[in-house]
């Protein structure tokens, strides 16, 4: 199965409209978490809390978005061996979770539930390998913060996500078999969230920055 096959398979279970809404919710969660943390706390504490708040917001939004699509199931799962809950969206062959990463499409640190999901993954990138009918595929929504070296710019636009990907990890979670850059996949969503004061050059820079850095 090639990357294109995998992508096609993914979209046959997760409708494009849902994936589009997933990206909208990434923007929304980053914005709302930023606003709420920065309105309630000093900048230093806001920065400490931001990741938790963002995760909480986004997981809730993803469940709400799934509710708009019959056949897509959203559930909260207690991670094995920890007190943390995470959200899983499942539809057809795929299970999707969300993860925050430092850089676009970076690898996610290993955890019990991810390892379990990845190891049950039947993905194979051999071109001629048939798709097993009982396969369960693991997909991750990866999103990172918008980062810039200019502190003023960071304060003004730090509410933006810096990237958003749907990535398909290999069994050992040490690489991605394929990934979909949502920023280039849904330019209309990105356009709708660009700061008004950004010219086209700034927007292009933003889109370039959202790309995965290493192959």
């Amino acid at each position: 199965m090639t990357g294109a096959d995998l992508e096609r398979l993914f979209y046959s279970d997760f409708p494009r409209e849902l994936v589009r809404k997933v990206l909208q919710n990434v923007y929304l969660a980053h914005q709302v978490a930023w606003d709420e943390c920065h309105s309630r706390f000093a900048r230093t504490e806001a920065e400490n809390l931001l990741g938790y708040e963002r995760r909480g917001k986004l997981e809730g939004y993803l469940r709400d978005a799934a509710g708009l699509f019959p056949g897509v199931e959203a559930r909260v799962v207690r991670s094995e061996g920890s007190n943390w809950n995470h959200t899983e969206l499942s539809s057809g062959l795929f299970v999707l979770t969300e993860n925050s990463v430092q850089t676009p499409c970076a690898l996610v640190r290993e955890s019990g539930f991810r390892k379990t999901l990845a190891q049950s993954n039947q993905l194979s990138m051999l071109p001629d390998a048939p798709v097993p009918t009982d396969a369960r595929y693991f997909a991750q929504l990866l999103h990172s913060r918008y980062r810039t070296l200019d502190p003023d710019e960071q304060r003004k636009h730090g509410y933006l996500p810096g990237s958003a990907y749907i990535a398909f990890p290999g069994r050992d979670l040490d690489s991605y078999l394929h990934s979909i850059n949502l920023v280039t996949e849904f330019p209309d969503v990105v356009q709708a969230h660009m700061p008004e004061e950004w010219d086209s050059e700034a927007q292009l820079r933003y889109v370039r920055q959202a790309r995965r850095m290493t192959a």
Binding site: K21, Q24, N25, V32, K57, Y61, D64, G67, A192
Partner: protein
């Protein structure tokens, strides 16, 4: 023998009294003439002395010559008011009187300026509103957008859209919180007239009210006045105009595309874009089938918990959409010298405050009007007599400002 006022028109007294929301007894208290005498004046059975007329004029804040204007011609009228409850009957009558004044002012201005030609869709809908289905209302809202060549994007300015298509709109205090607006399609000039009540609400609410009145213009243009008297028909008409407003402001496909999830944060984010209240978006989402009853209940609980029933996010920061047409017409008529403020007040026979309030003019606009002139720094400089300069630069040409040719 008592001397009356020649030419006094009793129904004008009634109009003025009702426009001020006064009962006969209240007017009696203000003027010191018995309610019975006032009633006689209104019925045209007697007329007040010039001295009493002066007192009445002061009490109701109307110029004396208002009471000498001819009686209005009666004509069939279907004014859509948002509440028919008895509690607001006085307020509704008051509003309807002010509505007549709005038409008077617009009619006067139309002698001097050409308002946009009315361009409202006639969709050939049934005269009986009870025959209209919800699907037809959705289609009508869509057809109205197509009629004006609009895409399914958010409407930048609802009031401007209506004005550009020939509606005359005013924002006015209607004297009752339950009365949100009035509208009428006036057959004589084929133009809708709309008053949006500002007694309560918020910029997005007033914008929705304007769309609601458009709903009446599109859906109910052929409804007979007597149909409004039937409570079940009236209720249905109001629901239909509401549904139309929501469909017109939030086209299903693009609103659905923008709605990332059914939760209050998502609705809140969309409010800034679509300029529709969060509560109206929740109702729209329910009508569209985007949410279950259970989800809706939980949304309303959280909506209350966040204090949004009192005030929603952005309500204090968004600017209301102000009508501009009448204000600009006044600017034009007065600045071009076609009329003076005195001419205006004499012709429309209203107090300056009423004209200013109905037309969105600043307080004191008519009293303090002075024609616009160029600042001195932009005028053609006058040549100053400076002998030494004259000697140094004989025959200097003064550069005149270039007048741009317009084709």
């Amino acid at each position: 023998m008592r001397v009356g006022t020649p030419g006094f028109v009793g129904v004008r007294l009634r109009e003025a009294r009702e426009a001020r929301g006064l009962t006969l007894v209240a007017l009696h208290d203000l003027v010191g003439v018995s309610a019975q005498s006032l009633s006689q004046y209104e019925a045209g059975r007697s007329s007040p002395s010039p001295h009493v007329l002066e007192r009445i004029s002061v009490a109701v804040n109307m110029p004396e010559h208002f009471f000498l204007l001819p009686e209005r011609e009666t004509r069939p009228s279907t004014i859509f008011a948002r509440s028919m409850s008895s509690a607001t009957k006085t307020a509704r009558t008051r509003a309807e009187r002010r509505f007549e004044w709005l038409r008077d002012v617009a009619s006067y201005l139309s002698e001097f300026v050409a308002f946009p030609t009315p361009n409202f869709p006639d969709l050939g809908l049934p005269d009986d509103p009870l025959l209209l289905s919800d699907d037809e209302i959705e289609e009508a809202a869509d057809a109205a957008r197509r009629h004006w060549g609009m895409r399914d994007d958010p409407i930048a300015n609802m009031v401007l859209l209506l004005e550009n298509n020939g509606a005359i709109i005013a924002r006015d205090k209607l004297g009752a919180e339950t009365l949100d607006g009035l509208s009428e399609f006036v057959v004589e000039d084929g133009r809708p007239y709309i008053i949006v009540g500002t007694d309560k609400g918020s910029p997005v609410r007033w914008r929705f009210d304007a769309a609601h009145e458009l709903g009446h213009m599109v859906l109910h243009a052929n409804v007979a006045p007597e149909q409004l008297l039937r409570p079940e028909t009236f209720k249905r008409i109001e629901e239909q105009a509401h549904r139309f407003a929501a469909a017109f402001l939030l086209p299903l496909a693009s609103f659905g595309d923008d709605l990332s999830a059914v939760n209050l944060d998502a609705f809140r984010a969309l409010k800034a874009k679509w300029k529709v209240s969060i509560s109206a978006m929740i109702i729209r989402a329910r009508h569209a089938g985007f949410l279950s009853e259970q989800t809706e209940r939980s949304l309303w609980v959280n909506y209350s918990r966040r204090g949004w029933r009192r005030i929603e996010p952005y309500d204090e920061t968004m600017q209301p959409e102000e009508p501009r047409l009448l204000r600009r017409a006044f600017d034009l008529v007065l600045s071009e010298g076609a009329q003076t403020p005195e001419d205006v007040l004499s012709r429309v026979a209203l107090h300056a405050n009423d004209v200013e309030a109905l037309c969105g003019l600043p307080n004191g606009y008519l009293a303090n009007f002075s024609p616009v002139s160029l600042l001195s720094s932009h005028r053609v400089p006058e040549r100053q007599e400076r002998p030494e300069d004259d000697a140094a630069t004989p025959g200097q040409v003064i550069q005149l400002p270039v007048r741009r040719r317009t084709s």
